[in-house]
């Protein structure tokens, strides 16, 4: 299973690079979906089937679609692409690239500087995850639901029309 793994890894890297350098928002979103799907393939090849399924369904399927919806709603159009081109001059890349590199270097050193650990691989199936969630991690489930509730309430409130516009109630919701 190593070939799918490394292939998917390469795809993920390229797609992510395209996400952060693309000027068209919708294109960037689609690249991001590609990146997420390749990470799902990586999960499959690691034996984490359940995680892969979750990645596709929730991450790529729900969250990215939400992004798309909002992007469509904003309806910015061609002007946005032009604007992005102006903003993304090569000069602005210097600082962030340096910073990202500086973050990467210690991580790489930590990963490869120590002693070699032999590679192991286990399949973690849905059943064991389920047992963990209903067993020792039951509170995690509750916390997650609370988090979602809070997120839902916050999002609903923040996205409301301002009070003076609400009264008029014309179409726009």
């Amino acid at each position: 299973m190593t070939l799918p793994y490394y292939a998917a890894a390469l795809v993920a890297l390229v797609a992510t690079l395209r996400v952060i350098t693309c000027v068209n928002a919708v294109h960037a979103l689609l690249y991001l979906v590609v990146s997420l799907l390749s990470v799902a393939v990586i999960f499959y090849s690691l034996g984490a089937h359940f995680a892969a399924a979750r990645e596709i369904i929730i991450y790529a399927g729900a969250i990215m679609v939400l992004f798309l919806f909002v992007l469509m709603m904003l309806n910015i159009g061609e002007a946005a692409v032009e604007q992005e081109r102006n903003w993304l001059s090569p000069g602005v890349w210097r600082g962030p690239a340096l910073l990202a590199l500086l973050l990467l270097l210690p991580l790489v050193y930590a990963l490869f500087g120590g002693e070699e650990v032999e590679a192991r691989g286990h399949v973690v199936d849905a059943k064991s995850v389920g047992m963990a969630l209903f067993g020792p991690y039951i509170l995690v489930v509750e916390l997650a639901s609370l988090l979602l509730l809070a997120g839902m309430a916050g999002a609903w409130h923040l996205a409301q029309d301002p009070p003076d516009e609400r009264e008029r109630g014309e179409g726009g919701r």
């Binding site: 890297l13 991450y59 691989g121 997120g151 923040l158």
Partner: protein, 102 residues
Amino acid sequence: MNAIPLEHSLLLASILFCMGLAGVLVRRNIIFILMSLEIMFNAAGLAFVAGAAHWGQPDGQVMFLLILTLAAAEVAVGLAIVLQVFRSFHTVDADAVSELQG
């Protein structure tokens, strides 16, 4: 199956994370910033799942579930804020919303 070294997965996760970080710092469009944040979330999730696969424990996947939940909530709230910003400032430029200065 042939096992894949943990370091490789973690290296991939690190590179993705740093790319996401660069994206957050570079892009001015708030939507792109949110997308870069998603990349960072994803990278962290990848690290956790890789660890779970390496040691055969479901704890990593549980953490991945939490990360997913977190990402979902964050995206919901974040996009709602984007909508509000767009209504108030009529732009999605992150540098335009700088009234808390000085």
